[in-house]
């Protein structure tokens, strides 16, 4: 067993374990931290495959942005976690059973496939050109063959943006907001009203 194999099994094992811990950890902050751990190890796997650009992206985007955002959300929302976990014990057995069935089936399939021959025997993905940097290799297909997917993905992001705006930007009636411009532009004429009050009648307003 060479070094590469040891590194692979280590990283893979840590990924799986931390993935498991994400859903079992009692403290949600811990869950997010385990998620970050999983991302890191997955990035390590990418590096081992020679895809260092993807590895960096994973760390920058997922760890740097997504996971940190998660952390913020988890910390900012005052969620009663004990209440959330109330049904955990009740649902655990049946959930485990379903998960177990799925796992067994996947193992079965993996074993069969492994026995019958490796995956993708007849259509192996093209090997990267030796002297081309990772990012460049991706760029070459991303803007040529995959231009359609690339642009479409852009549209998906656009929808996400529009959605975010539609769902959050709204004017609720009855909510008073400060309008500095109005405040500054106020004159005595607009700010005051002089009313004649007859004695003994008061103001009806």
């Amino acid at each position: 067993m060479d070094l590469q194999a040891i590194a692979f099994y280590l990283l893979a094992a840590v990924t799986v374990i931390s993935g498991f811990l994400v859903i079992t950890a009692r403290n949600p902050v811990h869950s997010v931290l385990f998620l970050i751990m999983a991302f890191f190890t997955a990035a390590g796997l990418f590096v081992m495959l020679g895809a260092e650009f993807l590895a960096m992206l994973l760390i920058v985007v997922y760890v740097g942005a997504v996971a940190v955002l998660f952390l913020f959300v988890v910390m900012m929302l005052d969620v009663d976690f004990t209440q959330l976990r109330e049904g955990f014990a009740r649902y655990l057995p049946i959930g485990m059973a379903v998960g177990g069935v799925l796992a067994v089936e996947m193992v079965m399939v993996a074993v069969t496939v492994a026995a019958n021959g490796a995956a993708g025997k007849n259509a192996a993905p093209a090997a990267p050109v030796a002297d081309l940097p990772n990012a460049e290799a991706i760029g070459r297909v991303l803007y040529t063959d995959y231009i359609y997917f690339f642009q479409a993905a852009g549209l998906v992001l656009l929808v996400a943006m529009i959605g975010a705006i539609v769902l959050t930007l709204r004017r609720r009636p009855g909510v008073r907001r400060q309008n500095i411009g109005d405040q500054v532009a106020r004159t005595p004429a607009s700010g005051m009203k002089i009313v004649q009050i007859k004695s003994g009648e008061g103001l009806s307003e």
């Binding site: 069969t112 995956a119 025997k121 259509a123 063959d145 997917f149 479409a152 929808v159 996400a160 769902l167």
Partner: protein, 478 residues
């Protein structure tokens, strides 16, 4: 193939994307008061795109990611023509409830674009992106009325469960890619034919089917449907009960026939199970419903079951049946939701079954339209629903799927109960009071689709059937 040729093939989608951006900028500058203009612009863009699609040449582009063939053209024309109806209904409806925002037509436009991508998908990547584009737009649309807690809940549920289904879909796609060595349908088919991939790729296929089954709301991935139908704004439900179902159905048909045509016997068994479950859940689940929108949700589950029966035939005839069925069903369901959008009492929309009591005396026109639509969805000849079911039935029989044909009949019988109950309530129960005057737009659409159910369907079918037949041939099944 040059880039220009590729753009020419994708002209409807390119045009739609460009118009979306233009309209978005226009709306952003003009604000919500531009909603009417944007709606008109979006409708026009859809019509133009439909025109482009109709005259589109056939071929594949973008390294096989985009397919323009008979089936995709058929689907696109249908989708791009039904979407303006949704814009029209939704626009008026939102204005009436005081929630008119220009993003609504934009989102419909983007959803339609996503559907266009779905029906043209020739690759797992474009499949996924198309599905996501469509779904994201729909999630937002479902929650479009942020002030309505039910709508927000519906949108959130739809989103969370949709994300789960996307996960399943992606997982399946990655398994397929892993085992078959390609994301391209043709190459997947070739590798399956080679026989090296074995169970692994089919395993991925099951996940893929599960993900898509969620999108068409087939059992057992239907759970979101009643809640979302009930909570989301009525015209929006009308939209996503119609076109997205067609798109997802077409996509499913294409993946199964082009990517996995050689594994027909294997995927048929899964489709048979989902079809059976869908019909059963749709037929029985509807029995206990008192909310019309929930009822229609179950009805749509059952109808998707019928369409899946056609799919399970695994023949060109079956695909033709699916296409005809979905188009006819789309028109029925649009009419139904137009009726629901039109009817209100004292400003409150009529959604409970009991609200419809005595409608025939208060609003005979709407009651008549609803009755015709109910008869149609029930599958009563000579209404359009009957022809739809007949096509499916014939295809199922022709391919030897006797048990499913029987299930179709039994499901129709059970489901007939709730349509008949609606009709009985409308015609024979005492009215609790006057209803509000129905808006012209929704009423017009309702009556137009009722008229389509009968008698327009008869000449229309003569036109539709040959188109569907040529379209079905594109799937390459016998």
């Amino acid at each position: 193939m040059t880039f220009q040729d590729a753009l020419l093939l994708a002209r409807p989608e390119v045009f739609l994307a460009a118009s979306t951006l233009v309209l978005l900028v226009w709306g952003a500058f003009r604000g919500d008061k531009a909603m009417g203009e944007v709606s008109i612009g979006a409708s026009l863009a859809l019509f133009v795109a439909a025109g482009f699609a109709a005259v589109s040449p056939e071929g594949t582009a973008f390294a096989g990611g985009f397919i323009a063939d008979g089936a995709s053209i058929f689907g696109k024309v249908a989708i791009y023509l039904i979407s303006p109806v949704a814009i029209y209904l939704g626009d008026r409806w939102l204005v009436r409830v005081g929630n008119g925002r220009f993003e609504f037509p934009i989102l419909i436009l983007l959803a339609a674009l996503g559907m266009g991508m779905m029906v043209s998908a020739g690759d797992l990547i474009s499949l996924y992106i198309g599905v996501e584009l469509q779904s994201l737009a729909l999630y937002v649309l479902a929650a479009f009325r942020r002030d309505d807690p039910k709508a927000s809940e519906a949108g959130l549920k739809y989103f969370v469960l949709g994300a789960l289904s996307s996960g399943l879909l992606l997982y399946g796609a990655s398994l397929i890619y892993g085992f078959a060595g390609s994301t391209h349908f043709d190459l997947i088919a070739k590798s399956i034919e080679g026989g090296a991939t074995g169970t692994g790729v089919l395993f991925g296929l099951v996940f893929l089917i599960c993900g898509l089954a969620f999108k068409v709301s087939a059992a057992p991935f239907h759970m979101w449907t009643p809640d979302v139908y009930e909570g989301a704004p009525t015209p929006v439900v009308g939209f996503f009960a119609a076109a997205p179902k067609l798109a997802a159905m077409l996509l499913l048909a294409r993946v199964l026939s082009e990517g996995f045509g050689t594994a027909l016997e294997q995927w048929r068994q899964i489709i048979v199970v989902t079809a059976f479950l869908s019909v059963a859940v749709g037929a029985f689940g509807g029995l206990a419903q008192s909310n019309i929108k929930r009822l229609l949700a179950y009805s749509s589950i059952a109808n998707i079951g019928y369409a899946l029966i056609g799919l399970s035939a695994g023949s060109a005839e079956g695909m033709e049946a699916v296409l005809v069925f979905m188009v006819l069903y789309m028109i029925d369901v649009t009419g139904f939701f137009a009726c629901l959008g039109a009817l209100s009492r004292n400003g409150k929309p009529m959604e409970q079954l009991s609200d419809f009591a005595g409608l025939a005396r208060v609003r005979p026109g709407m009651a008549l339209a609803l009755t015709a639509l109910s008869f149609s969805v029930m599958g009563l000849p000579p209404f359009s629903g009957f022809w739809a079911k007949m096509f499916v039935f014939k295809a199922a029989i022709a391919s030897g799927q006797w048990p499913l044909a029987v299930v179709l009949l039994l499901g129709s019988v059970v489901a007939a109960f709730y349509y008949l109950r609606l009709i009985k309530t409308m015609w024979f129960d005492a009215a609790p009071g006057q209803t509000d005057k129905e808006p012209l737009d929704a009423k017009g659409v309702a009556i137009a689709s009722a008229l389509f159910c009968f008698p327009v369907v008869l000449p229309a079918l003569a036109l539709l059937e040959p188109l569907a037949k040529t379209a079905a041939l594109a799937f390459g099944l016998k």
